[in-house]
C-alpha cells in the first residue's frame, strides 16, 4: 500500500535513468580503447583459452555493451574442439543464444576443463569470459 502511494505521489523519475545513461556513456567515452588495443586483447584472450580448448579464431566477436550498472565486455568465442587429455575432442559449436538456453549440451559443458581467466582489466566482467571458456559464448542475464 505504502509502495503504491509512493508511486502515486512521486517514485522514481526519469532523471535516475538519465543519470545512469550518462554515467555509462561517459564510462565508454573515457575507456578510449583503440581498435588495435582491442585486437591485441582479443588475441591474447584467445591464446589463453586455446590452451584448454580449440577455438575458431575467425569467428571470434568481442564487443562492449552497457548492462545495468556496468560496462560489459561480450566475447563470443566458438569452440571447435575440447582438448581433453584423453583426446576425446567433442565438437561444440555454440553461439550467444544457445549458450544461454537450457538445452545446451550440458555434458560437454560440465566436463569442459576449467577455463582460464582473460587478462583482467578494470571495468570488464570476468564472469563472461569464464563462461566463454565453457560454451564459447558469453551471456549475461
Amino acid at each position: 500500500m505504502i509502495e503504491f502511494l509512493r508511486k502515486l505521489f512521486g517514485g522514481q523519475g526519469s532523471s535516475t535513468t538519465a543519470k545512469e545513461r550518462l554515467r555509462l556513456v561517459l564510462m565508454t567515452d573515457h575507456l578510449e580503447l583503440s581498435p588495435e588495443m582491442i585486437d591485441t586483447m582479443k588475441r591474447e584472450l584467445v591464446d589463453v583459452i586455446s590452451r584448454f580448448v580449440e577455438v575458431d579464431r575467425d569467428k571470434i566477436d568481442v564487443s562492449f555493451e552497457r548492462q545495468d550498472r556496468t560496462l560489459a565486455m561480450l566475447a563470443n568465442i566458438p569452440i571447435i574442439a575440447v582438448n581433453r587429455p584423453n583426446g576425446n575432442g567433442a565438437v561444440v559449436e555454440a553461439n550467444h543464444e544457445t549458450a544461454a538456453a537450457p538445452p545446451a549440451p550440458a555434458e560437454t559443458q560440465a566436463s569442459a576443463p576449467e577455463p582460464a581467466k582473460p587478462p583482467s582489466r578494470k571495468r570488464r566482467r570476468r564472469k563472461k569470459a569464464q563462461s566463454a571458456g565453457t560454451a564459447a559464448a558469453v551471456a549475461v542475464p
Binding site: R6, L8, F9
Partner: protein, 288 residues
C-alpha cells in the same frame, strides 16, 4: 579563475617594469560543445551584468557564419562590419566595435554572417584578443558549438573558460568532452543553464548535484529555465538589465563571482512543493 589571478599578477609585474604597459583584461571563452544550451544568451547577459558593475566589456561573437549575439542584444540593425573585416585588416577595430544600446562600456564585435569558420586564422584571432585585452577589462568570447576549428579559434586567445551545460545527458556528455579538450590549458568553471526546479523536485530532470557530481567543476552559477528569457530574447533585451528578477539577479551573482567577489554558493532555484509532493514526502517517497 586561478588562471585569471595569475594573469593579472603577471600583467601587474609587466606594468611595473614598463611604464607604458597597461593591465591586461581577462579573456574568457564561453563554450559547451553542444549547440542550443544557451552560450549566446549567457554571453549577452554576463556581458551586460559585468558592464553594469562598471567594467569595460567587449563580447566577440566567434560563431562565424551563424551570427546571433547581435540579435540577443538587439543590435542587429547596427552591425556594419564584423570580426573577419578586422582580422583581415579591411576595417579598423574601432569601426567594427558596436556600442550596446542599453549598457555603457559594453561593446560587441559581431561575427561575419556570410563567411565560414575555417576562414578565421587562429593566430590572428589570438592577436586580436590580445589587443582587446589592452583596452577592456573583460573580453567575452562566444564560442560556436562543436569542437572543430571554430571552437579552437574561439579558445585560442582565451585565458579562462566557462562551460555552459543544461541538465541533459547529451549536454553533459559534450561538456565532459570539451573539458577534456581544454584540459591542457585551463580548468573551466561551470554554469548550469535551464534548470526547471519543479521537474528536478519530481525526479524528472537531472539536478545541479547530478550534473556537477559528474563534471566536478567549480560551479559559477545556476540559471533557471524561465519564460522571461524567451520574452527578453524576443525583444533583444538581456534579462540582466532587470536585476530585480530572479534570473537577472542570478546573472549578476555570476558576474560578481567572475569579478572575484565572495558571493554565497549558488543555490539551485527553488520550486514550491505541490500538495501532492508534500503528501508524497509524508509517505517517504524519496525523489531522486
Amino acid at each position: 579563475m586561478h588562471q585569471a589571478q595569475a594573469d593579472t599578477s603577471a600583467s601587474t609585474d609587466q606594468a611595473q617594469t614598463s611604464a607604458a604597459a597597461v593591465t591586461l583584461g581577462r579573456a574568457i571563452v564561453l563554450t559547451s560543445g553542444k549547440g542550443g544550451v544557451g552560450k549566446t544568451t549567457t554571453t549577452a547577459n554576463l556581458g551586460t551584468a559585468l558592464a553594469r558593475r562598471g567594467a569595460r566589456v567587449v563580447m566577440i561573437d566567434a560563431d562565424v557564419g551563424l551570427r546571433n549575439l547581435d540579435i540577443v542584444l538587439g543590435l542587429e540593425s547596427r552591425i556594419k562590419h564584423h570580426l573577419l573585416d578586422v582580422l583581415e585588416e579591411r576595417i579598423e577595430l574601432d569601426d567594427a566595435l558596436v556600442a550596446d544600446k542599453h549598457t555603457d562600456k559594453l561593446f560587441l564585435l559581431a561575427a561575419a554572417q556570410a563567411r565560414e569558420k575555417d576562414e578565421v586564422e587562429t593566430e590572428k584571432m589570438r592577436a586580436l584578443v590580445e589587443r582587446l585585452r589592452e583596452r577592456f577589462d573583460y573580453v567575452l568570447i562566444d564560442s560556436p558549438a562543436g569542437i572543430e576549428l571554430g571552437f579552437r579559434n574561439a579558445v585560442a586567445g582565451a585565458g579562462e573558460a566557462i562551460v555552459i551545460c543544461t541538465p541533459e545527458v547529451a549536454a553533459v556528455r559534450d561538456v565532459d568532452r570539451v573539458v577534456g579538450l581544454l584540459g591542457n590549458r585551463f580548468r573551466p568553471s561551470l554554469i548550469i543553464n535551464r534548470i526547471r526546479p519543479h521537474l528536478v523536485r519530481k525526479g524528472k530532470m537531472l539536478s545541479v548535484e547530478d550534473v556537477n557530481g559528474i563534471l566536478r567543476l567549480p560551479l559559477l552559477g545556476v540559471i533557471a529555465d524561465e519564460p522571461e528569457i524567451v520574452v527578453t530574447t524576443n525583444r533583444g533585451e538581456p534579462l540582466a538589465l532587470r536585476d530585480g528578477t530572479p534570473t537577472g539577479a542570478a546573472y549578476h551573482a555570476i558576474a560578481a563571482r567572475i569579478a572575484g567577489e565572495d558571493v554565497p554558493a549558488p543555490a539551485p532555484p527553488a520550486a514550491k512543493a505541490s500538495l501532492f509532493e508534500r503528501l508524497g514526502a509524508m509517505f517517504g517517497g524519496s525523489r531522486r
